[in-house]
């Protein structure tokens, strides 16, 4: 059993891949490197797929691409409405990134979302984007006033939400991916063959996509709240 705990810890630890010798040693974690790999794959696929787009008589590749993009686009468009249309590409990018990051464990990499730093960064960007959308829509004065709505007494709670929202986003994603990983490792320790397949489909694939969906869904809901009058 001690052996199992040791191996689990090793899997869970995010190793430092290399250190940049500035500012007293800048460590680069494995999660950042895997993110680079995901980025490279995504950009390469995007460039390959979105080549030679035609307005008239599109090919099969383009039709498939358009179907996928418009699926995501319409999903966010339905939540955000016309006023939030400018944020849709970011949300689409994030959902694809988290989706790939959550299931990249199947390809032998360590999921970046298993690292608290990555989910913290994602949550940080979400809350910045949410508040930016509110400021952009309402202006600073009305945005500040919106903390005292509907009544002034809830202002402390509204301000607390600024920290609670990203914290919950960050911890939800991190906890789900970590939990799914630990459960899968335990199952694989007990029964190494056949049995893990349905569990893997659930914990690695389904849960991975669901968490990506939940993350961007909540982000867009908060944004909708921020840009709505």
């Amino acid at each position: 059993m001690g052996d199992l705990a040791e191996r689990l810890l090793e899997e869970l630890n995010c190793e430092t891949v290399f250190t940049i010798p500035v500012f007293g040693g800048m460590e680069i974690f494995e999660s950042v490197v895997v993110t680079w790999i995901i980025m490279a794959v995504m950009v390469l696929l995007a460039v390959l797929l979105a080549r030679n787009l035609r307005v008239e008589s599109p090919g099969k590749r383009q039709l498939l691409l358009e179907a996928g993009v418009s699926f995501l686009y319409n999903f966010f468009d339905g939540i955000l409405g016309e006023k939030g249309r400018r944020y849709i590409p970011y949300l689409c990018t994030v959902v694809i990134y988290i989706g790939i990051a959550n299931i990249i464990g199947l390809f032998g990499f360590k999921s970046p979302t298993k690292d608290l730093n990555v989910t913290a960064a994602l949550a940080l960007m979400s809350i910045v984007l949410i508040e930016y959308a509110g400021i952009h829509k309402k202006g600073v004065k009305k945005w500040l006033k919106s903390f005292a709505e509907p009544v002034a007494i809830v202002a402390p709670i509204n301000i607390l939400e600024l920290f609670i929202r990203p914290l919950s986003l960050c911890m939800r994603l991190f906890g789900n991916v970590l939990g799914a990983f630990v459960v899968m490792e335990l199952i694989k320790m007990i029964v190494p063959a056949i049995i893990p397949i349905p569990f893997s489909l659930y914990f690695d694939v389904f849960d991975g996509f669901i968490q990506a969906y939940v993350f961007v869904f909540l982000t867009s809901l908060f944004m909708k709240e921020a840009i709505d009058d």
């Binding site: 869970l12 630890n13 995010c14 500012f23 800048m26 460590e27 680069i28 974690f29 999660s31 950042v32 993110t35 680079w36 980025m39 995504m42 950009v43 995007a46 460039v47 797929l49 979105a50 787009l53 035609r54 307005v55 008239e56 599109p58 383009q62 691409l65 358009e66 993009v69 418009s70 686009y73 849709i88 590409p89 970011y90 689409c92 990018t93 994030v94 694809i96 990134y97 970046p112 298993k114 690292d115 608290l116 730093n117 990555v118 913290a120 960064a121 994602l122 940080l124 960007m125 970590l178």
Partner: protein, 167 residues
Amino acid sequence: MLRIDFWNILWTVVNLLVLYLLMKKFLFGPVIRVMEERKALIDSQFASASEAEKKALDMKAEYEKSLNQAKEESARLLDEAKSRGQAEYQRLVDEAGTQADQMMEKARTAIAEEKQKALRDMESEIASLAADAAEKILKENKSPAEDQMIYNAFLAKAGDSNEARGN
């Protein structure tokens, strides 16, 4: 795992921003632009199609109008021709009637003149017959019985000649 490191958070933020910009440039920008262009194209095609349909309908209405006008015109012309023909016919008939009347009148006049002339002829013939008879009577100097016979013969002759002329 639970080690929070400022630099790695910053790196991830930078990574995500770069990824966002790249994806926007290479994937979402072009794809959304293409879809919007297609939508605009389809909209413009629909608009031009409905415009063409409207134009066609207008033209159809115009054609129908002019067709109706032509129909009315032809009906009017036909009516006019008919009435003119009727008038012409009436005029001809009237003229023929007048002419016939005139001819009848002329014929009647001629007949009357002829009759007059025949009467005159007959009178002169009767006169000459009477003269002949008188001459005969004077020459032969006969008895009253003979005179009576001659007179009857004269009457018969005059009557015959008168009858023959009357026919």
